[in-house]
Amino acid sequence: MPFAFLVPLFLAGFAALVIPVVLHLRRRDRQKPTPFPSLMFLSRLPTQTDHRRRITDWPLLLLRALALVLLVFAFARPYLQRSDVTRANPVGLTVLLLDRSASMDAVGVREAWVDSARAVIEGLPTGRRIAIVAFDASATVLLEPTDDHAAARAVIGATPVAAGATRFAAGLRAAANLLAHEPLPGDIVLVSDLQRSGLAATSAPALPSGTTLRTVAVHPASRDNAAVLAIEVQSVPAEEARRAVVAARIDRHGGEAPRTTEAVLVIDGREISTVAVILPADGTARVVFDTVTLARAEARVTVRVGADALPSDDARYLVVPAELATRITLVAAGNAQPDEWRYVEQALRIGRDPVFTVERVNRLDRATIDRSAAILLFDAVVPEGEVATALDAWLRAGGGLVVVAGERLAGRRGELDPLTATLRGNIDRREGAVLGDAETSHPALSAFREERSDAFAAVRVRRHAVIDAPGDGAVLLRFDDGSPALIAGASGAGRTMLVAIPLDARRGDFPLQPAFLPFLRGVVGWAAGHGAGAPVQESGEPWLAPVSLRTPVVRSPAGDLARPVDATRFVVLRDAGFHEAFEGRAGGLPVGVIAVNAPAAESDLTMMAAEELLLGVAELPAAGAMSPPELASAREARQRGWRWLLLAFLVVLGVETVVASRGWRGVAARSPAVSSNGGAPR
């Protein structure tokens, strides 16, 4: 088995072999020369030049050279080359690429898909090697290259259809990886419904040179497919009950004439309402159900239409939180005048997205804290004692706290817990301070991203609080003298916001400016957790478990349990429907419910020509140029030679030390060290 080097550049280190030779020639076997008053007589003696250029200690020189050689080899990382793959695998490889996306669940497709795959295997000549790769948004190698066709057939029967989106690039890339290590050009047989949407979003893969791609198209019985693509729940003001209007958007792909179907509203497993809806060909319909009464708790809302070509997108799932409106607690000081907090309260009550329910109190208590999505301390002193502990715990668990530092709060000066900022009092700005340096990339100020002119330029502040920002806080807005006007921070899983801008009309005109409303709603909304925006969870995509779940377990609609992948917090949710999240074990009431829907793109069953698939496909170097993947342990075994070399280097070094310090060499080495004033010879 031949060997080569991982880092052959280090072989240049052989040049260092000159060093011991030079050392020996210069007879620098002592660390320092011996001072002598004058070389007047010594340099005249003829014998010394003869010895100067003669190597007198061959054993020591060879030992040192050997040590250097070993060290250079160790650094160059020698490894044993693998045996020739060409000789080992003279037979070509066929990669059976199976589309397992959600659209493959269309009526009649699944059966055709299995039959086609089996037919491909049957058509392979005896001895031809086969590998099977299944893909949707990601690819999985179901069968490593083998000539066992029976095993391949068994794999086909056991392959489930997933619910992910189609991504041909993912499958082709996995197939290319398998073929890249083959000595002979292979072929890929793609069994798919060739959904055009599967080409989107990712770059085209590269296939090894000489690879042939063959497609086996499996058509759905019909392309006419309707899908529920969105559910909207609008709360309706009501005194006694929690009432809401539910609407849904239904898209229809294909079809030649409008058709009528039924849309069914299901809440918490109960069919609440059924509405007949006319679906235009290749169009969209909106259906609004009767006003319904929702439970105070979390509600699971499903809108379903009549079965058609693709059943998996006929239902849409949505989890409606316990409160539709976000509850904001406005804490105003007891002696605060109504004209101080009125602008804030009114600004929060206006608007729909999000809807804020504002509860104004003079003093916080535990119950108020617990039912708040965000707490706005309007120039009020941060509570102390038991309430402070509760507030801190609530904040760390994910609450949002907005502190407006006004005349009273800033006047107290000192540390401001739990925001860790420092209050430095108030400052008069008679000429009118201006706001600037807005960090509109922050979600709280996202409303100002599209503003061409500075939205805050018109604001004038005559007196404001002076705050030292904490080290970990982000200053989102500043006064024109550089002092922070708005500071965002974090405390555990919670969000904090410190406002130094006066939010009343006494000390400035901010509440009278157009920027006030989006500013306040953005800041409070971000603190209440609206900023990030709830992601749309699609089947086949990983779901990130919240940090509040230490050992998350997710139960699928079919009852299967899933846990995070490896050491991450991601749980792959494959099926559409309501998934329940539990802490530790799946039992009792779930701590959370996740609505997972089929990818919207899968609803369009439009096919493409097989040639389109090859558009943009690049060519890799000739097959066989690369080695097949190898187990890490085997690779490590082939490369571990450097350890032995290093060990041998240390042994040689030890021997060299012994040799150099024994006998006459040792005597020479023990010659007295000398100073500049000379030294005593033996």
Binding site: R26, T34, P37, L39, S43, L45, H51, W664, P681
Partner: protein, 300 residues
């Protein structure tokens, strides 16, 4: 010093432990004189030698007025030895003098020797001066009866450094102004014998009575090294690698020939050449100087 034989104070191993040069010189001289059973005035003489003609600059007090009365010419009386002769000590301060294989370097030995000699000369009523044989001529101390402390101070400050050619250095000393007198030179004499001869001859021609102490370290004398050595020249930093055992005979021969050549050439000029070793007591050199001191003055 009770209980210690005074002459042991002349041992280089003991002298190495004395930092105060004045104390060292006094100790050496006292020990030397006590051991030699000689008077501190030994060597002095007031015996009349001859008359010589007056020359401008001569001390008027020394004019023999009787002779003037008789001859109407000015004559001066000279004696066998001057009681207040100028004694200059010259120390080679080149880096090679710093070599040390025993308790005392050549420089340390020579400095102790010259300090003792200056002290001894002072006790005899001589004027003492100091000349460093090196680059720094500013340390020269002119002879005077009151300059012993300055001489000892200059000796204390001297450090061996740099490179000098002894012959040329001696020629430069000969060019110095001032009354001629005794000059004791301590050096390791690393220069060509001819060059040293020229230097000494120039001094002698100037009227100086020169005594050259060739200071030798025992390691220079014996070359006692073994194995492989790289020798570095203390003055030039040049290096040479060799096996001492292989070249020892050749070295000793060359070194001995150098000493012999010096003795012959320096002696030929009328000066006194004395080979002294760093591992031997100082008394031999002191005694040699006293004997040299007793010699009749020449050319005065």
């Amino acid at each position: 010093m009770t209980g210690v034989a005074p002459t042991t104070m002349l041992d280089p191993a003991l002298l190495a432990g004395i930092g105060d040069l004045e104390l060292l010189a006094r100790t050496v001289v006292d020990g030397f004189l006590h051991g030699a059973h000689r008077s501190s005035r030994a060597g002095l003489s007031v015996d009349f030698a001859e008359h010589r003609a007056y020359q401008p600059g001569d001390d008027l007090r020394r004019i023999d007025w009787r002779v003037y009365g008789r001859t109407d010419r000015f004559y001066l009386k000279t004696y066998e030895a001057e009681t207040n002769a100028d004694v200059r000590i010259a120390l080679d301060v080149s880096a090679s003098m710093g070599f040390q294989s025993g308790p005392l370097s050549k420089f340390g030995w020579a400095r102790a020797m010259l300090a003792s000699l200056a002290w001894l000369a002072k006790r005899q009523g001589d004027r003492v001066g100091y000349i460093p044989l090196g680059r720094d001529a500013s340390a020269i101390v002119p002879p005077s009866t009151r300059h012993l402390p300055l001489v000892l101070q200059a000796l204390s400050r001297a450090e061996p450094e740099g490179e000098i050619a002894l012959g040329a250095a001696l020629e430069r000393v000969a060019e110095l102004k001032g009354r001629a007198g005794m000059l004791v030179v301590a050096s390791d004499c690393y220069d060509r014998p001819e060059a040293i001869q020229h230097g000494v001859a120039a001094l002698e021609a100037r009227g100086h009575d020169v005594m050259l102490l060739h200071v030798i370290d025992p390691a220079e004398r014996d070359l006692p090294y073994e194995g492989s050595e790289t020798f570095a020249d203390l003055e030039t930093a040049h290096r040479v690698a060799l096996k001492p055992q292989e070249i020892r005979a050749g070295y000793l021969e060359a070194f001995g020939a150098h000493g012999d050549a010096l003795a012959e050439r320096v002696g030929g000029t009328g000066a006194e050449y004395l080979r002294v070793y760093g591992d031997e007591p100082l008394d031999r050199a002191l005694r040699a100087w006293l004997e040299h001191r007793r010699r009749p003055e020449r050319g005065r």
